[in-house]
């Protein structure tokens, strides 16, 4: 009969025996290894590390980039050292630009067929068609202009050209007087500004101590919204110490818009032709010259547009909707080509999803601080997402013109001009354009290169035209890369720290009586948007700092002042 004691003996023997085998020891180490294989933690893909070159399209600077790729997949971006325009610098938006194709809020579906049908109907009924292009000067922009020339009454509309389309030669400046312009925080080409920084004395006139104000040589605080008033005082001879500073030329005066005071100051202190220069754009094929002319949107007749196609793919200037809307006829059809739901898609009947950086092949026109014309491509580092449409091809097809090889044709025209130099990113060498053939030029552009024009010795003197101010004066808008998408990693900068303002977050002086984190509304005559308060003593009482966004620009465009109200 088996007793309990027997059982214990056998079990005891088995236990001792087991300990003398590898089994339990093995299970312990295996268990430890098993616990390390935590489910849900992704394993980075392995493969050959390759470098690819491109240019950033997230803002008009178009900084040169070197992409580190695993196989064909970009995993990080860095600048191209020695580049004559960007000098190897990238801004935080560009550094994480390769995340955009996977942005959870990206627009990926739209009623393309319905939009095409509505457009055809509108044109068929004799209505006027117009394209509004947020970043003019691209080759796609020329495609739109050619398309509009082929359609009866077609218009090509663009945002107002800052500085009348002239360029700034920052390297020539010795004194820069800036009225609230974020010169050291995203203006122009960051690498170029940093490079030139040592050459000029910066006087920043601004109500809040922005990043630029904090880094300026002299910060002139004003009351909220009174930057323009100070410009007027300086123009009329007040403020001797500033007048003395401005004797140290060449001088450059910058403002957020082309206020008459800014234009006059530049004229008075001899900026025209020295720090503000005219610039010729990259050549285009002769056959394109009969394209529709560029028209500033404000010059279009009110209520005249039946079909409005908005290309918002390249983040650029955003014109508030209530202004643009006045140009539409009563039964207008609005189609927005965009990758985000937050821009004109909020107002359009149809939103058509487009590719984002770095999916599409596109070119970037010269930035405001490039005195020479340029031509550079943003190459397709990853294939465009399924369902996205190329707006240039769509509109070209609509008008029955062939634009499939537009970029290559333009490169050909540039090559034939035999002007300028080509800077190659892989080896930092420069080749004069006249020594390159068209095929080699196209190949270089796709592998990472930039064409930089010679400066035009016969350049006409630049003309500046004054414009009326259109923005709310007491709201300081912090740029967040236009209206485009930003990498989800930016939550590090506004959730996990307070380096930048989040969307729908406003910074106020504690004296305003609001609490940190309080939900409030930013209100103007145009409406209100819910915001969260962040207290910041460097904002003067009465001023409001907000992150740019299309909805904020809609709210604050064209009004005199904004209020913060409790909700």
């Amino acid at each position: 009969m088996t007793t309990r004691r027997d059982l214990f003996k056998i079990t005891g023997g088995a236990a001792v025996g087991a300990l003398l085998t590898p089994a339990p020891w093995r299970m312990i180490t295996d268990g430890a290894l098993w616990s390390e294989n935590w489910p849900g933690i992704p394993r980075p893909a392995r493969g050959e590390i390759r470098a690819k070159f491109t240019n950033c399209t997230l803002c008009p600077a178009g900084c040169a980039m070197k992409a580190r790729c695993v196989g064909d997949q970009p995993i990080s971006l860095a600048g191209v050292a020695g580049h004559p325009l960007s000098h190897g610098a990238l801004c935080p938006f560009g550094i994480a630009g390769h995340h955009l194709p996977y942005h959870p809020e990206r627009l990926l579906s739209g009623a393309v067929e319905d939009a095409a049908a509505a457009i055809k109907k509108g044109i068929g009924e004799g209505g006027r068609i117009a394209v509004f292009d947020t970043r003019p000067g691209r080759t796609a922009s020329w495609t739109y202009r050619r398309a509009m020339a082929s359609l009866p009454g077609g218009l090509y509309l663009r945002p107002q050209a800052a500085l009348n389309g002239n360029a700034v030669d920052l390297s020539a400046a010795r004194t820069v007087l800036s009225f609230g312009v974020p010169l050291l925080d995203g203006w122009g080409t960051p690498g170029n500004v940093i490079q030139a920084r040592g050459n000029f004395r910066l006087i920043q006139v601004e109500a809040i101590e922005s990043r630029t104000a904090a880094m300026a040589d002299l910060w002139l605080p004003t009351n909220a919204g009174e930057e323009r008033a100070m410009a007027s005082i300086i123009l009329n001879g007040g403020m001797d110490h500033i007048a003395r500073e401005l004797e140290n030329g060449p001088v450059l005066v910058l403002g957020p818009e082309d206020w008459p005071e800014i234009v006059e100051l530049n004229r008075k202190y001899g900026a025209l032709g020295r720090t503000i220069v005219s610039r010729r754009d990259a050549p285009v094929p002769d056959t394109w010259k009969d394209a529709a002319p560029e028209m500033e949107w404000a010059d279009a007749a009110e209520g005249s547009i039946r079909v409005l196609l908005i290309d918002e793919t390249a983040p650029g200037a955003y014109v508030p909707w209530h202004s643009l809307e006045t140009k539409l006829s009563r039964d207008a059809v609005v189609v927005a080509f965009t990758a985000t739901r937050d821009g004109y898609a909020r107002h359009a009947q149809f939103s058509i999803p487009t590719a984002v950086f770095p999916e599409a092949l596109d070119d970037i026109p010269a930035a405001v601080d490039s005195p020479a014309g340029v031509f550079r491509l943003s190459t397709s580092l990853v294939p465009p997402a399924a369902g996205t449409i190329d707006p240039a091809m769509f509109i070209a097809r609509l008008a029955g013109i062939d634009a499939a090889s537009a970029l290559r044709d333009r490169a050909g025209a540039i090559c034939r001009s035999a002007r300028g130099n080509v800077f190659h990113y892989a080896d930092s060498k420069s080749t004069p354009m006249k020594e390159m053939k068209a095929d080699a030029f196209w190949k270089s552009l796709n592998e990472g290169a930039c064409w930089i024009d010679d400066l035009d010795p016969k350049a006409p003197a630049p003309k500046l035209v004054a414009r009326a101010a259109t923005r709310a004066s007491n709201v300081s808008l912090v740029e967040t890369c236009g209206a485009g998408l930003v990498s989800p990693l930016f939550s590090k900068l506004h959730e996990e720290s307070h380096v930048r303002l989040a969307r729908h977050e406003i910074a106020l002086n504690p004296a305003g009586g609001f609490h940190d984190g309080e939900r409030v509304a930013l209100q103007t005559d145009c409406g209100r948007i819910a915001m969260t308060v962040l207290l910041d003593p460097s904002i003067p009482p009465g001023s409001i700092q907000a992150a740019t966004g299309a909805d904020v620009l809609d709210l604050c465009g064209g009004v005199t002042g904004a209020k913060v109200v409790r909700i």
Partner: protein, 251 residues
């Protein structure tokens, strides 16, 4: 000779853009903020703080100070307290290495670190769908419950050493490489190099009178040297002034 990798950070050049923070997250597979994350629960191996001179508007002046692991060289506090030996100091480079795979998440090191430069994974990392394709194979992602911090981009260091080995360089030669934040800073405010090599920019700049280290009086011997010509910045940092007597007060 052993290397001592260090940095100089020029506060006068930093404009608080955050490029270093983003580049660090890209390089080291740090996920975007979890829904519950705030500035005390985030993962920011390098973090830019805004400091000011304490005055009211309009006399208020601000500056930006990027803070990352200071790679303490003397009685490294975190290495001292770790019960798991999940932190070690490399004698050949001076880098204080954090091993999340050994960490058991007690967070004693976070309490010990005087610079608040260590971060805890409160949640499992999550990337938006598809974004995991952009992860860096040179750095292992961490699970929740472990502490992580800057290791001076050990992934890039590994690759540089591998290149050196393939190129025939001896193992004892310290390799030349650049961490992600240094490469990313558009203003060139952060510089990196071997402090033991007197010819490097960091070695030279660290000896300038306007250079100082954070919390010098604790005697941690950090390898990050900050630099500013502004007096009020030095005051905030309790920077010892040149010629003011004892430079490093320690017992």
């Amino acid at each position: 000779m052993n290397a001592r990798y260090g940095m100089t950070i020029d506060i006068d050049r930093c404009n608080g853009c955050g490029a270093c923070m983003v580049a660090c997250a890209v390089e080291n597979n740090i996920p975007p903020a979890h829904a519950g994350a705030n500035d005390r629960k985030g993962l920011t191996w390098i973090r830019v703080y805004k400091v000011d001179n304490g005055k009211e508007y309009p006399e208020r002046r601000s500056a930006f100070v990027p803070v990352l692991c200071q790679q303490c060289g003397n009685e490294t506090p975190c290495a001292h307290v770790c019960p798991q030996q999940a932190v070690d100091v490399d004698p050949k480079t001076g880098v204080v290495g954090q091993m999340p795979e050994r960490c058991l998440g007690c967070r004693y090191c976070m309490a010990a670190c005087p610079y608040h430069a260590r971060y805890f994974n409160w949640w499992d990392p999550a990337w938006p769908k598809g974004m995991e394709k952009t992860l860096n194979p040179s750095v292992a992602p961490r699970m929740r419950g472990v502490v992580e911090k800057c290791n001076f981009c050990h992934g890039r260091w590994h690759e540089a050493r591998q290149r050196a080995a393939a190129g025939g360089l001896a193992a004892s030669e310290p390799v030349d490489y650049v961490p992600a934040c240094v490469e990313a800073c558009p203003a060139g405010a952060i510089r990196f190099g071997n402090l033991n090599d007197a010819t490097t920019e960091v070695a030279r700049k660290s000896k300038e009178p306007d250079s100082f280290r954070l919390l010098e009086k604790l005697g941690t011997d950090p390898k990050i040297y900050y630099h500013s010509k502004r007096d009020w910045v030095k005051t905030i940092a309790e920077a010892p002034r040149p010629g003011a007597g004892k430079e490093n007060v320690r017992g």
